[in-house]
Symmetry: C2
Subunit: 222 residues, 2 copies
Amino acid sequence: MRSRDTAVAALKIDLHELTPPADHFFGQCAALHLTFFEQLSHAASNAPQVADKDALARVSGVMLERYEALVARIDHHKLDRTATIQPHLAGAAEFERRTMGADWHEQVAAAHVTIGFLTDFWVNLAAGLDRDDRAAVEQALRAENIEPTLHAIVERVIAANPRLSSRLAVWCRRLVGDTLLQARSALVMHDDNAHDEAQIDPVMTELIGEHTRRMDRLGLTA
Amino acid sequence: MRSRDTAVAALKIDLHELTPPADHFFGQCAALHLTFFEQLSHAASNAPQVADKDALARVSGVMLERYEALVARIDHHKLDRTATIQPHLAGAAEFERRTMGADWHEQVAAAHVTIGFLTDFWVNLAAGLDRDDRAAVEQALRAENIEPTLHAIVERVIAANPRLSSRLAVWCRRLVGDTLLQARSALVMHDDNAHDEAQIDPVMTELIGEHTRRMDRLGLTA
C-alpha cells in the first residue's frame, strides 16, 4: 500500500495563488475541524461495539487536538476567536448535514472519505501561507495519521456485511461532490477565472485520485 | 465559593465496603466516561456560539482523557477491554438517554449536574480499590476541574435568558433521581441490607448536599 502522506507530499502543484489570508484560512479550517470532531464523536456514540467506540472516540480526540492547534494560531495572530471562526460555522454545519449518512456505516465511511480528502486539501492550501503558519498547519494536520484507524473500521464493517459494499460505494461516490464544493469554498478566486481553474484542476484531480486509491484499498469502486 | 474538591475531600465517610472489584469498577467507570464524552460532544455540536462550542469540545476532550486513563488501568490489569466495558454500555446509554435534555440549555445543565455528582461519587467509591488503582482514579478524575467551565456556561445561559431559571431548576431536580440510581448501580450490595444502607445514606446525603451547593452557585433552587 502506497502511503497517503507520500502521495500527497509528492504533489508538484499547489494552490498557493488561491490561498485565503490567514484569518480566513484558520477560521474556516478550525470550524471544519470542530465539524470533524462532532462527526466522529457522533459516530463513536452510534458505534455498537466497544472497540469501534473506543477507536472513534480517540480519533475524534485527534480532531480536537488539531482544532486546538489551529485556534492557537488564531491566538498567535491576536485575532478574536469568535469573529474569526463564527462566519464559517454555518457552511461547515451545512457540509456536515449533507454528508452525515443515514446510519452508522455511512457515518464512518463518510468520515473516512471526507476527512481524508479535506485534510489533504488543507495541507495543500497552506502552501500560500507564510512559513510559520504553513509549518503549523502541516504539523497539526499531519501529527497523527488517523486514516489507518478509519480504514480498518470501514474494512471490518464491509467484511462483516459484504452486501454493504455497493451501498457504501455509491454513498462515497456521492460524497465527492459535496466535498469538492466544501474545498472550493475556501479558495480566493480572481477575475481571471480561466487562470484560477487552471490552478485548481490538477490539484483536485490529484485529490480525487487519492480518493480513488482510498476506495480501492477498501475494495470499493470509486 | 467553597471549592468542590475541598468539600469532597473533607468527606469523612466512604463506600469502601461496597466498592466492586477492579474489573467491574473500571469497566463501568470507563463506559460512563464514554457517555460523558458523548454527552459533552453532543452539547458542543448543538452550541450556537463558537465560545461555548469551543469550551464544551475541550471539556469533552477532558472526559476522553479520563476514559483513556481508565482504559489504561484495564490494560494494566491485563483485562480484555471489550469484555470489561461492554457489559456496562447499555446501562450507561440508558442513563444518557434519560438525562439528555430537550434542548441545548438542558443538555449543558445536565452535563454540569450529573457529571459533577458522579465524578464525586466515583472518586469516593475508589476508596475500596487497592492503593495503586485508587491513586490512578483520583489522578484521572481530578486532573482537570471541569466544573468552572460548565458552571460559567450555565450561568451565562441563565443570565441571557432569566426565564430559563425555573425550568432548569426543575430539570436539575429531576436529574437527581436518575443520577442516584446510576451511582447505586455500581455498588456491591450484601445480604445485610440495613448495614449497606447505613453506609450508603451519609455518602449520598453529602453528594446531594454538594449538588445543592452547585445549584446555589447558579442561583437555582435545588
